[in-house]
Symmetry: D3
Amino acid sequence: MFSVTVRDHMMIAHSLRGEVFGPAQQLHGATYVVDATFRRPELDPDGIVVDIGRATSELKSVLGLFTYRNLDDDPAFSGMNTTTETLARVIAEHLADRIHAGALGENARGLTSISVTLHESHVASASYERDL
Amino acid sequence: MFSVTVRDHMMIAHSLRGEVFGPAQQLHGATYVVDATFRRPELDPDGIVVDIGRATSELKSVLGLFTYRNLDDDPAFSGMNTTTETLARVIAEHLADRIHAGALGENARGLTSISVTLHESHVASASYERDL
Amino acid sequence: MFSVTVRDHMMIAHSLRGEVFGPAQQLHGATYVVDATFRRPELDPDGIVVDIGRATSELKSVLGLFTYRNLDDDPAFSGMNTTTETLARVIAEHLADRIHAGALGENARGLTSISVTLHESHVASASYERDL
Amino acid sequence: MFSVTVRDHMMIAHSLRGEVFGPAQQLHGATYVVDATFRRPELDPDGIVVDIGRATSELKSVLGLFTYRNLDDDPAFSGMNTTTETLARVIAEHLADRIHAGALGENARGLTSISVTLHESHVASASYERDL
Amino acid sequence: MFSVTVRDHMMIAHSLRGEVFGPAQQLHGATYVVDATFRRPELDPDGIVVDIGRATSELKSVLGLFTYRNLDDDPAFSGMNTTTETLARVIAEHLADRIHAGALGENARGLTSISVTLHESHVASASYERDL
Amino acid sequence: MFSVTVRDHMMIAHSLRGEVFGPAQQLHGATYVVDATFRRPELDPDGIVVDIGRATSELKSVLGLFTYRNLDDDPAFSGMNTTTETLARVIAEHLADRIHAGALGENARGLTSISVTLHESHVASASYERDL
């Protein structure tokens, strides 16, 4: 199995609902350093998993939907806790949609799974992995 | 599949028995930077894999059993080489026991596997992964 | 010259005023991974720059004034841009006050300077350094 | 499942053929920080996955085949794009051959899979994983 | 004293002349992860050392002069060893020229020094620092 | 001012004397990831601060005096606390002696200062800097 990982980041404000979140129930924020990993069992005709340049620019474009925003005001997250885990899944879904739509090129249709990891600090991160 | 990872560290002395260990047969020591990863296929009702605060404090509590100690003097390791691999398994077993005992909350019973990675330097690490 | 550095983090929301900040004029947030460095020309009688345990707990206490908050609502920052640079200075001032008040121990009065670095992502950071 | 990871690096020149590579079609170069991971379900009689010393020296020996070279001039890569993904596979194949030849010791025959990750910068990496 | 640091990278081929360089006399290459640090004693009227966005884009523009190239073919380096140290100085000179030309904004004229660090691997780096 | 930094590590056991050290008064251990930095105002005739290969091998040789040992048994540290700060100074003194003795080459006599940083975990480090 082959994989390629690219990294970017986003900076958002949000609050979380539920006693389990303690002080994170208050409006606060986070930098998420985001790793997106693309996997496939065999390389494409160019000898790559995915075009790193395109993967990087699509990841930046997806993160651009959220960065420099207060996620509490985003209707897409209405009624949903924007936990690190949930954001990892949302970003992965956006990337999957773009792969299926051909935004990473025709050869990227050979990708079989992706995962997205959000590092919220030097001591905590969350990931979501799904098949394509 | 979702996962959450938290990080802490411990500082121990020990020696290893067996020619394969070369100079590490002498009493020496290590800082282990420890990553504990918790996995489950679906998020709990709060939208999380596990309470990061509780996961962090249980990891610290488990590492507290070993840190600032000479593992050669610990009866729990009698007759056993305290290799990085073995310590990863021992820490994972302690975390699994605590999950089963409810120390990470009722919702944490939905966890399906954990892994523990010990970074012994900037160039070497060992991991152990098990189902719950 | 000797130094000791300890690391912790805080997660805050804020917005910045001024065209130069572009989209960061919107309410957003950041994780700041914070390094506090303490310096002195000679070690104290225990052979240390500062008690790492105490330095770590004072840094955590200072970051506790800000973490999980929206800095736009904090009167301490009224009329002030909470840029990464400014936050580095504010944290350094708090640490300096605590050193002068004896919170890091009598021997810590031998410290001659401190610096504080805030990493706002994997690609940007800001620092402030001052004499004591 | 247990694993051990060791790290080293190599510094090479090369060029890539194909429009998808854009400016990387020109002769340029890269430092690859290389992580080699060895896995097995149970530890060997010494309580290890593999001798970290031997694993480190075999990895260095494999990287020595490529480092400080222009890969465009290496007949082993003739007609092949030396992408990060391909180099990860080539290094993994060399390590697998050495494991099978006994270079990591008799006990290393219990290894069941290996993976190799090449970090080409702070924001991009590629991996290859295979069974043994 | 305040500072701001931004990070980017470049990937180049080159060879070095002189016995001291051993196998690096052959054509090979490197990824340089580049940190550019900007310093000034007081913040500008916006409360910053320098516009991080502009600093990042000027650094990218300077690295764009070299990345994906064989430095042995660049007349700018004719008769000069493109050591990591030398490249750190060359990049710092380019940044200094751009600061003096106003490319980082009028307020950036208050900067008093810059330094540039090139990380050539996980175990080696070189820096150059100069006044403005 | 130019500098070059090289990294290696050592793994030692020790105990510390003094109430300030709390549980670190017990025999325990540490991995120290060690950065040695060499500085000079102008490059040598080869265009370098110091031969990175030689600097790396001298650092490894100095760390070889301590690694895989219990520092409590080393007469060189008798009556002295082997704090991270003290070890940074001791390693720096050894490197300075070797520079003065010509072990890093004749050109290394142009070095004007060195510093040594010991990272004892992902959240704490200590440094010592001195002129040559």
